[in-house]
Amino acid sequence: MTPHGRQALERCLHSPRILVGGIILILIVIASLGAPIFAPHDPQEQDLINTLLPPMWQAGGDPSYPLGTDGLGRCILSRLLYGGRVALYVAALSSLGAMLLGTVLALLAGYFRGPVDWLISRIVEIWMAFPPVILTLLLLLALGAGVNKVVLAIVLIDWTRFCRVIRSDVMVVARKDYVAAARLVGFSHVRTLLREVLPAVAPLVLTMLSLEAGIAVVVEAIMSFVGLSVEPDVPAWGVMLADARSTMNQAPFGVVVPVLAIFLTILSFNLLGDGLRRALDPRLVTSRGRA
């Protein structure tokens, strides 16, 4: 590892934001991946005698249902754990996809400029005229509902977030002397982009990836809340919210559980992103050094 890289890693490990965000995220990943081990019940199993049970520490709670049951007598804890898998699946795939598409187009636009930049910028402008929720609804209507369609929709919409921000950074980097030097030495355009330009914008890409994962969790929750994401037999946090909302008067706790899960997941991604930005952004590092 280069000394520069080691320094950056050290700064990351000393950032309270990255540590807290990272720990929360690791716990969520373990809980979701281990759902078959930790879950006390099948998430779809209905117990119609024990519907709307309160959590076990409240009067009338049942220790075999630690967080209580929903309106169909399904175990809330088990659904919560399995729902995490959907959220993480969508967060990982869609943020990576949006990053890949957005970064490639940003590199092309910022490096080659001219007509390539013009075309890509116009597409971004058209995309930006849509509130993202509206474009997601339109895409899901066209593609049909389903969790993989949600991933595709997020990639097709949110690449613009990456493209807009990274493009302007690429433009600055591409003007630098060392990039010109690489070309003079005889590097091809592709090699210059990958070896000289990309590493310079990588911290920004990483930061945005983390924030995008949080956005993807929200979009999945919204779409499963309105019934356009997962199949009816798959537990997802948005589905749990929609179910619990109809029984909110009798069992308010059922609403709180998925809200907390969504909140903690987004918080962990935001803390990570914020921490990475502070730890990796050379401008922030130097200005903090001066102050």
Partner: protein, 339 residues
Amino acid sequence: MGRIALELLLRRIILAIPILICVSALIFILLRLVPADPVAMSLPPGSSQADYEAMKQALGLDRSIPEQYWIWISSLLRGDFGTSVFFRRPVIDLVATALPATVELVVFSLIVGTLLGIGGGMLMFAWRGTIGEQVLDLGTTAIMAVPEFLWAILLILFLGVAVPLLPFIGRLDPSVSLPPSVTGFLLLDSIMTGRPDVLGSALTHMVLPVIALSIGLAPLIMRVLRSSLIETIMEDYITQARLRGISERQIILHHALKNAALPTISLIGVQGGFMFGGTVLVEMIFAYPGLGNLMVDAVRNHDLPVVQVVGLVYCVLVLAINAIVDVIYLAANPKLRMA
């Protein structure tokens, strides 16, 4: 000043035309991919094959896609927005009742969010370097991790169900009769027709949705305002003002705030566009009869004539709010005013 602002507005409108053409084409093409048969959906039950062909022709669906797009656009320009398949009513009527509700909601939320953000940002600035700033910083990080639709649900849970303080269904109490529609904007209409009962009921119904929408905007404004205030305070002219013996309070209110306003204004512009998106779920959760509710219902019912118009209306709203913010930005920026 007025002339330049007008020119800018005009230029933005002209620039918006090609974007709107592309946006409408995109919506149109996306909706042709929908796995639903709009002809069958427009027919009454028990229709024959001949009825089917006749309806297909009447809807123009036997033509090519570019021709169909042209038919749609030219009828839009003539003021014919089509008929809802689900409600069997002209789309223009549905939009005309829903649009003012959404605009009222967004305008109020932008004002409330901005005021909260400016207050919080100045507090953060005043407390810079203290434990108070750290607490505010942590608080805003937590607030930003809760999306608007979760705020909506939490607010209903705490202020609607647990402590029933405020109404959370619809736009008016069912017992209050609607005033005659003058502008379509309920608040304006109730004032113009002298109906304080309607005004009161409408305002209390707006409290929770407005909080849900504005609570996410405030922390963003707080942070931008704080950092631009910190940047501005380092400038030479502020030091000079200090040397002239002007009080810290005066400096912040009369000098620093004016400069820090610019980045804040452009942030409000971007976020205002997103807020229209946020209303979709918030309206649905509060059963608030605006565009968002109309859109979600139309998507669920595959009501394509409604979806394509409402989708387009949202884009017009985003472009409009961007143009308005640009003009405000110009008015607030002395450098651009000179040019």
